[in-house]
Amino acid sequence: MNEAMKGNGAPIVAHDLVRHFGKTVAVDHLSFEVRSGEIYGLLGPNGAGKTTTVKMVSGLLPPTQGQVEVFGFDPMNQPIEVKNRIGLVPEDHILYESLTPREFFNFITSIRQLDEQDVKTRVKSLIDAFEFGEYFDKPIAALSHGNRQKASVIAAIIHDPPLLVLDEPFSGLDARTVRVLKDILNIHLENGGGILFSSHILEVAESLCDRIGIIDDGKMVAEGTVDELREMVKAHGSLEEIFLRAVQQDAEVAETVQALRKALTKNYTR
């Protein structure tokens, strides 16, 4: 990890972030902090505002209100400083479709002006770990979802950024790749980097994150370590219950599932 890259301040300090889309309030007065050496999970159901938050953090979307700082830099006003320090795996991995991964990696390393030797060793080991070699010269358009995701992950860490921002990175990956990616994240933490991670999958967040912020309708409904969260909702068992309780859905879910059962029950043998 390059110390000079870290600038001053914590990887992410978000204060009172708000984002409106017309009448929709996608993110509603959200504050959180991601520290060095820590993996912070944004956990929430679909449409909770995770992607919107990730975009504001990485300088792709201006907040309606509030501030976010990445190593002390403002993503909207100092986008270059921020983009140099973030490795982003976006939710929709749209890459340059007609380039091959080789051409794509050459392009981004040139844009970032990285050291050729360093990058080469790094990319080689990543490609071996991901078993990606045979796709290295195929157009990205021809890659499967999972393989694009791999390309997207490699591209995100190619410049050794001190902060990783991953928006639902495990969706569509096979077990081996998930394992490799988890290892990559752990190594990154050991090196003192920070990670912001979004997911709607509880198990993943539970097993991986140091701290979790549960968001719903753009609001932070609970925050803390897994243990603290358990304490908070005074329940035992899996995080799933905690999660549903935190977003106050458990009773409602039970009800809707009941209704769903009625609607869907059929006798296929009739």
């Binding site: 979307l61 749209i94 002006q113 990058v119 070699g133 010269d137 195929k138």
Partner: protein, 572 residues
Amino acid sequence: MSEIKEIEPNISWREAWRIAGKIAFEVQFRSAMSMSSGAMTQTIEKQIQRARSNTRFNKITISVFIGMLAIVFGILVWGTLSGLYGTPTEFRWITVAFTVSMFCLVGFAFLVFWGLMVSTSFISTNAASIGHYLPVSRVDTGKLALLAYIRLLDSQMITIIIGFPLAYGIVIYLVYGLVIPSILGALACLGAFLISVGLGITIMLILALYFYTRIQTTGGSRLGSIVRLLFYVLWAVVIMGFSLSFQLLNIIVPLVESLSISLVPFWYLLYFAYPFTMGTFVVLATGIPGTPQFWLDFIVVALYGGLTLLGLRWSRNFLRQIGTGVVTTTGPSVIHPVDIKVSRVGIALLRKDLRIATRTPGQAIMFFLPFLTMLPIFLQFIWEIGVVHVSDVITFIVMPTIMLGFFSIFFLSVEARGMKYTLTLPLPTERILKSKAQLITLMALAIPVFVIAVSFFKSFTNPISFLLAASMVPVVYVSAYISLVLFTRVVGGGRLIGFEIGQHITQMIIVGLFSAFISFVPIALLGICWSWVFLLGYPVEWAHFAGLAGLWAGITINYLLGKLFARLFIIG
């Protein structure tokens, strides 16, 4: 299990046309969404509204443009038949036949050109697959996909199919005052343009298929490059015909006349070939006096009609396959060693854009801009001028310079779907715009190159001509830069935004006109400084140098203007 509702196995054409309109809009919306940074800052509802009004607006622009072409066509036919151009009576039929043929070709080329532009969005947004999720038959899926494709081009097609026959019928009535020939002529014209449009769609799809199954997959192989080169040669031919028909009437008329008259002895052979079959057909149906009895032509037209129907059926199947993913895009799996090469930022940007552009059928056209702009004028030079004076060179290079500036926005289309990724890179917006301006500057190098080429055939009176020609390259650079900045401001609100032909053609024309005006500033200064010094009674050599100085002053002014605009308008 409750009964599954069977949807009618055959959707009516009317219903299919309506659904296809929805799919077509989806294609445009998806591709517009995927490439705008605005997509992230505006509400979805607003974006949909905007895409819808953009689409509508663009359709109107295109229709007006084609309508004007139809008027030009009508004037040409009328001028010939009424004797206005002094065409000898016995040759009028062939001049009309030739004119009709050429405009059939223009309609054909227009559809191929436009279709290739949208084919990228059509295939990459995978909108054709929508039909697969609906409970419709396989045949209907193909029908829907074909109609959706057609609806992306509907305004162009409809104006072509209605505009030209209408213009023709009216002109025939005006000249002869007879109803029957004008109706027959208009109907024949309708057939001719219908066939041209159908052939255009088929050819365009074949080319698109070719790109997606072969070129995209071969990555950087040598064979791929050769095949691609061949494709571009083909493009060049189409574009050349296209651009020639856009030259002013006073260039076309004598050209058409002398060319068509010189073709008389070969016509009995030529009319078997498209597009001449179509011209002959129309002239025969109208009964223009003096037309030879090429009755076989009706059979040939019927054959082309059949061919078109076959082509459309093939297109339907192909489009159906796009949806199901039968069109494979997997290349040979030769594994090369992993390696990373770091180059300079500017080079990397240019290389990426050139790669993407050469692999995308709709963008290949940009490599023809130099030819499109230079070749007609070059030929005129070789034919019409004896010794080349400085003033000749200036008239020679003004048009291409202005045209390249005009087309600069087009180069933003290279970003296309990759735009979203580009935004995540630590690149100032201004840097990316600069790179696009550099791309068009590469094309502008054609100006001095062509002038040097002329010097192999003709002798120049003054070597300063070459300096002037070379100075056009920076003129293009600065005006391209200014128009890119303006487009980013006008369409993207100051943030990077891609160019998508179905969405932004109107904005491109507006910004392009402004850019043409901007590139005219240095040229005007050249003229002013030149005449000022010359009129003061100094030697002509001095005037040349004064002109050159004026030109460079203009370039500097535009450069500073560009910097200022970028500072004022560009965000990020």
